[in-house]
């Protein structure tokens, strides 16, 4: 029973990890938060769900569509809320991206209706049973896809020229610009990748609960914020570990205490972290805290 809950928690954590990665990439690139990413994930998930249930396309295609939608929205958000906004106003990108989120939520409810969308089961017959542990096909998909995307991102960031450019901009954008890196294009690329990750996390979360609601955007943002604060703002590895932790904690709370305490315990944990270790659990230097 406990092992089953732990595995469920880790699975929930992998979807959190994707959205946290998506937030952390933007924090790294610009030292700013894109508050519209939760809504981006929601819109991608709704699009993916519509593709699956209405057009009956294979899951891979719907998933790709969700990724493209996420990337597009994140790119547009970058232009509207970051690129064209004066850098002298620190809160301007926050407010502007919140505005984009509001518009996205109300557009979706206006155009597609405010009812929940069903995400059909993809792998019906697959099931792994190891002793008391049971993993169904969809959970397997979530695990594999999330792990694959995380690994691909690591390889991209650490082994390719563009990945190095992203890390360079995140480290020191002026210096990187002087070395001939097109900083704005790299930042746009970072936003697009973060949108892709948000889209993936949206549809995978939808797959795990089999429904997608147009009102979950804000909730997703809030969870992601808790994860990245716990792991350390801008710390990619810390974010993944914190996401798995929060996934396990939430699942165990729901299983053994009560669903109403789920968010409260996470908030409490993050609050204690902020007072005792503001740089996050897994960050050694406080450089990021000073910078953002």
């Amino acid at each position: 029973m406990l092992i089953q809950q732990l595995v469920n928690g880790l699975l929930l954590g992998t979807t959190f990890a994707l959205i946290a990665l998506s937030f952390n990439l933007v924090v790294g690139a610009l030292d700013r938060l894109n508050f519209a990413l939760g809504e981006t994930a929601m819109v991608s998930a709704i699009c993916g769900a519509l593709f699956l249930s209405q057009l009956d396309v294979p899951f891979v295609l719907a998933f790709l569509a969700a990724l493209v939608v996420g990337a597009l929205i994140a790119g547009i958000t970058f232009l509207l809320s970051f690129r064209f906004v004066s850098a002298d106003y620190h809160t301007a990108p926050i407010l502007s991206s919140l505005g984009v989120g509001l518009v996205l939520t109300s557009l979706v409810t206006r155009v597609l209706g405010s009812d929940q969308r069903r995400v059909p089961t993809v792998l019906k017959d697959v099931r792994i049973e190891v002793g008391p542990l049971r993993i169904v096909g969809d959970q397997l998909i979530i695990l594999v896809v999330a792990a694959l995307m995380t690994v691909l991102l690591y390889i991209f960031l650490n082994r390719t020229a563009w990945g190095m450019a992203i890390r360079g901009v995140s480290d020191d954008s002026d210096m990187t610009g002087l070395l001939g890196v097109p900083v704005q294009r790299v930042i746009l690329l970072t936003f697009v990748i973060s949108g892709t990750l948000a889209g993936a996390s949206g549809l995978l979360t939808g797959l795990s609960f089999h429904t997608v609601s147009p009102f979950t955007g804000f909730e997703t943002t809030l969870t992601a914020l808790m994860v990245i604060v716990l792991g350390g703002l801008g710390n990619i590895t810390g974010g993944v570990v914190a996401a798995l932790m929060i996934g396990v904690i939430e699942t165990l709370t729901v299983a053994y205490l009560s669903a109403t305490y789920r968010d409260l315990i996470v908030f409490l944990l993050v609050g204690i972290t902020l007072v005792a270790r503001p740089q996050g659990l897994f960050t050694r230097n406080t450089g990021v805290v000073g910078r953002v």
Partner: protein, 290 residues
């Protein structure tokens, strides 16, 4: 004054009070994203006192202001030592915590809310606004007002000049929370019923929009923002169905064209179009500000 006008005037007055309260923290450059939580704290405190203990509304308002101030000081103490991103995250989470707690607290009716409050009058609202405006009038002309401005314009320079930035910001945050709490108390005794869901993220964003639209430079800018945004849905009925889209677009457009708000001077042009063109043509424009 007939009942309809009175209701509109009271709503307008509460909006102005909320905007003025928020302006105080925005004047130090610290934007809270969960001010509706302080409204909720004020509203519930006052409602418990007047309904369950039959205190007078005026005393309850004072107590609710105090409670909100204590909560504000606590949140400010945690968040204002850190950067503006952390402040945003913490205030967001705080608003959510308050909502969850109120939702699961049976004494105040849980999610179905608390009812039976009455007694907000135009005079009471006007008096509160009067007190706040007098306070802000003298604040704007005092050393403290100057220090707020210094912190807003350049926090590092302010710190280098010997200002206790964190202390001043926390104090401003607490005062701001207190005024928001009083406004919450007034609004609870006007709407007759309060539920936790009234004080969610949309309410917080609306309060921010009041101040951002008006501009943070002068406190009366906040009043203008509050009046415009409260009267807009009343004058234009059709906006009612699209108000979320309208507010969202307003944020986006305003931040590009006039991030300083409608009212407020800037060294840049009247509208930021020049900067827009410059940004669009240069490759490495406003990456970030070092």
């Amino acid at each position: 004054m007939d009942a309809y006008t009175e209701a509109v005037v009271i709503r307008l007055g509460i909006a102005i009070l909320l905007a003025l309260g928020y302006w105080i923290t925005a004047a130090t450059g610290k934007f809270s994203f969960g001010h509706a939580a302080f409204m909720a704290i004020g509203a519930y405190t006052a409602a418990i006192l007047t309904v369950n203990f039959e205190w007078s509304l005026a005393t309850s308002m004072l107590i609710s202001g105090l409670t909100a101030a204590v909560a504000g000081a606590f949140i400010g103490w945690i968040a204002l030592r850190l950067s503006i991103l952390y402040l945003a995250i913490i205030t967001f989470a705080f608003a959510e915590i308050v909502k969850i707690l109120l939702d699961s607290w049976d004494y105040v009716g849980g999610a179905s809310g608390l009812f039976g409050m009455r007694g907000t009058t135009v005079e009471l609202v006007a008096m509160c606004i009067g007190v706040v405006i007098v306070y802000l009038f003298f604040l704007a002309r005092s050393r403290k007002g100057l220090s707020y401005e210094a912190i807003r314009e350049d926090e590092q320079a302010a710190r280098a000049c010997g200002l206790g930035v964190t202390g001043i910001s926390v104090e401003a945050f607490a005062v701001s929370a207190a005024i928001t709490g009083v406004a919450g108390a007034l609004s609870a005794h006007e709407t007759l019923i309060i539920t936790p869901s009234q004080f969610g993220a949309p309410q917080s964003l609306l309060i921010i929009l009041f101040v951002v639209l008006g501009g943070v430079q002068y406190f009366w800018g906040a009043i203008v923002g509050a009046v415009v945004l409260t009267m807009l849905p009343i004058w234009f009925d059709f906006l009612d169905n699209y108000y979320q889209i309208t507010y969202g677009l307003l944020f986006v457009v305003l931040m590009i064209l006039r991030p300083q708000g409608i009212i407020g001077r800037s060294t840049e042009r009247r509208f930021n179009l020049g900067a827009l063109k410059k940004l669009a043509s240069s490759r490495n424009g406003a990456g970030r500000d070092g």
